[in-house]
Symmetry: D2
Subunit: 254 residues, 4 copies
């Protein structure tokens, strides 16, 4: 009856080509592994595809985005290689209602910074910290069925202050063995779109194979999905008692 959620997992696909550790953890690439996890948990309720930086228009053509309900984004070393025109296009679709799930180092992606308006900077350390992901909003749909806590034996440390706007919902907070903490799961609304940021998932650790992390991502896809016309909010003049006809300055209907 309801059609499946159309999901697109975007990966930078750089480490997969150059780093042996990444190849060992992710023989099917990082985006491929993330996509497989979503297929496993969402089953027939979703159709999951992948795209990478290497594809034409980075696999993010207007036509492709128009038939994407939720976009997941993993990038790290090559943020600058993403073309501005593509970033503008993705932003327009998010404002129009496409869901966006920004993963780990995507905190520094062009699209995430554009949508946040801040530096999106943080503190970090590559040192095999144990990360515990704690649910602080147990009523949130993204936390449903997620272990308390998710235990990630080895991870890059991401710590506060994380310079993002106050989120709509703070769902997860992580603690690292070095003592740092991080708001690791946060939701934001921008225009008509729902955004979820989730920090676990460095390329050097097999985080996307973790059952709890897979549960978070599949919950996030369901949460970020909306069944609505893809159109961003826009300015309109409205005459008194006509609440439905948006007009130009001169009174002509938009």
């Amino acid at each position: 009856m309801t059609r499946p959620i159309r999901v697109l997992v975007w990966g930078e696909n750089h480490h997969e080509k150059h780093d042996e550790i990444v190849q060992r953890h992710y023989p099917d690439t990082m985006h491929g592994t993330i996509a497989a996890g979503l297929r496993e948990l969402l089953g027939e309720s979703a159709v999951v595809e992948t795209a990478t930086l290497d594809d034409e228009e980075h696999g993010l053509s207007e036509e492709r985005l128009a038939r994407t309900d939720v976009l997941l984004w993993w990038g790290h070393m090559l943020h600058d290689a993403v073309e501005d025109a593509v970033v503008d296009r993705v932003r327009e679709h998010v404002l129009g209602g496409m869901g966006l799930v920004a993963l780990h180092s995507a905190h520094f992606s062009k699209i995430f910074i554009r949508l946040m308006g801040t530096t999106c900077s943080l503190r970090w350390r590559q040192a095999d910290d144990r990360e515990l992901v704690w649910t602080v909003a147990p009523t949130h749909p993204i936390a449903e069925g997620v272990p308390q806590p998710i235990v990630i034996p080895s991870q890059e440390m991401y710590g506060e202050f994380f310079d993002v706007p106050t989120p709509d919902d703070l769902v997860f907070v992580s603690g690292f063995s070095g003592g740092e903490v991080f708001r690791s799961g946060m939701t934001f609304s921008r225009g008509h779109g729902r955004i979820f940021y989730f920090s676990p998932g460095d390329q050097d650790y097999p985080v996307y194979h973790d059952a709890g992390v897979k549960r978070v991502l599949s919950n996030a896809v369901r949460w970020a999905h909306q069944d609505r016309e893809r159109v961003a909010p826009r300015i309109g003049m409205y005459r008194e008692n006509d609440f439905h006809t948006a007009r130009e300055w001169d009174g002509s209907p938009l």
Copy 2:
């Protein structure tokens, strides 16, 4: 020119009478030490007094509350010994605009639970964890001049899920050496009053001597203070175009 902030530090004063460790850390009592820290940092901008459970009406008479701008509350073992009539009175003053700073185990005080509406439960462990208190809202007045992080060498662990309503502002998040995290500094508005909860401060550790903690508490007093008439919001009927005359059901002015 502006009169000093009138501060009242309320202490249960139980451990001070019975526990040797507490006596060693706090020869001047816990509430006395907290008060001294406020006097040190607030100087002439505040007048700081103390009251305890042992005082008549727990030192919280109507008259006393009426001349209190900000009340700090530390309690632990004897929450149930606080009389309901006093709790009602304190609540009325908070709703009327008195600031409240709830400290550590005051999460389970009658007054805090009443104002939150939740169970205020949490996870805990008495095991000498190191607590790091991280600022996640650097623009908040309570975080001004506070070290990033505050390092507390030994503390009781308080961990999530902490069952309180979503705060107005999440100012501090703590990480413990055992891996747990805690939303350790949060603000709430209730009626006309401002409330700040701050978790560091167990009786078995000399936390209230810490310079960073003293800074947080003095900032919190300044933040929680308002110069306003002490009156709680109340229902009123208003005739059309008369926005200022609150009336009873029958139209008579309140």
Copy 3:
């Protein structure tokens, strides 16, 4: 596959017995009309029952609440007639994960005040204002498919300041022809439960027949429903590295 949401619409059932206007607008009672609207929109995805103040234990026995996923509450003149034991029981179920939708004058119900912790007071006027209900959070599930604005030709005015805690989400804001505004749709989390307050719906106007209002309430039921074990958060001591065994003070498992 998934079982239907079990919904219980609770009505005070007082005006229905005494006021001719109410009887004319709601020949099937107010709670009966609300229930019918939910059945119309939720279809087989929900089983909707009703209960009233007149029923034994107000129709809210432990057994009844245990098999209720979402409770809607309409009360007005007889808030005080609701027994405290029943209020305690409902609160426990909300904290344990039962959804609660508080309607209109339920802002002054015992259960709502207990869960909010504030006075829940507001300004009001019984004077045939037109109420426009505007969506200010178009990405929120409760706003899905809701007209912008909902036009309610005649309604009691509810105006600010509405003394409730800052909501998790502000979904709707109403404007009245007299010029007042009201945060008319707000969500709150308390314990493991989701709460939605929605203000349109005075007994003297046929508001619950409105298609937009029906849509809001059916969305709210879906949103407030959770598939989880009914248990409120509770305090627990946890040993280091054992994140899953909640214990008593003395170390014995809970």
Copy 4:
């Protein structure tokens, strides 16, 4: 003892040169009038200057911003005439801790859109609506001493949906005689800076002469001001147990 707050009121200064109505309402220009209002209420606690689009570098040189604590921004027709380099510079200062108060049609200024990340679109009507500005957060410092409501006899209508991120604090909500509502006073944090948006203030009405509006703006200046080093958050690598030395990728101190 504490030095005065250094305030800069920035005006587009276009209508003042071309529109007779504006000249009649604001013989001293709009920015001049806003500045005079601030001087009246802040007295010796602030030094208030003005700058306009016409000035070299729009009056917003690096040196000028470096000695500005709070910047107020009014623009309307000539948003596009503001040079991108100046917008970048202002953004950097806001992220570094400079306060920003965005006024009315500044919702569509380059700087506001950059900091919000959304379209910042809204509905509007130029039709002499009466605007009532209601305080919904009476404990907020910006609401202190502000009339409930502020009555503005004639104003341009700004209505929802206003496409901005969820604010940190919703302080004011306006109702218009046409029935529309608007979140007219909101705070946002970005980086180390505090931002306040306040919508009353169209060029065609003498809004900035209103005592209540002047009170809001002077409160906002006090609230937005911070005494801190002007530096934006930036990424840093931190070694374990060294929480204070930010480092580059290679370990060298920043």
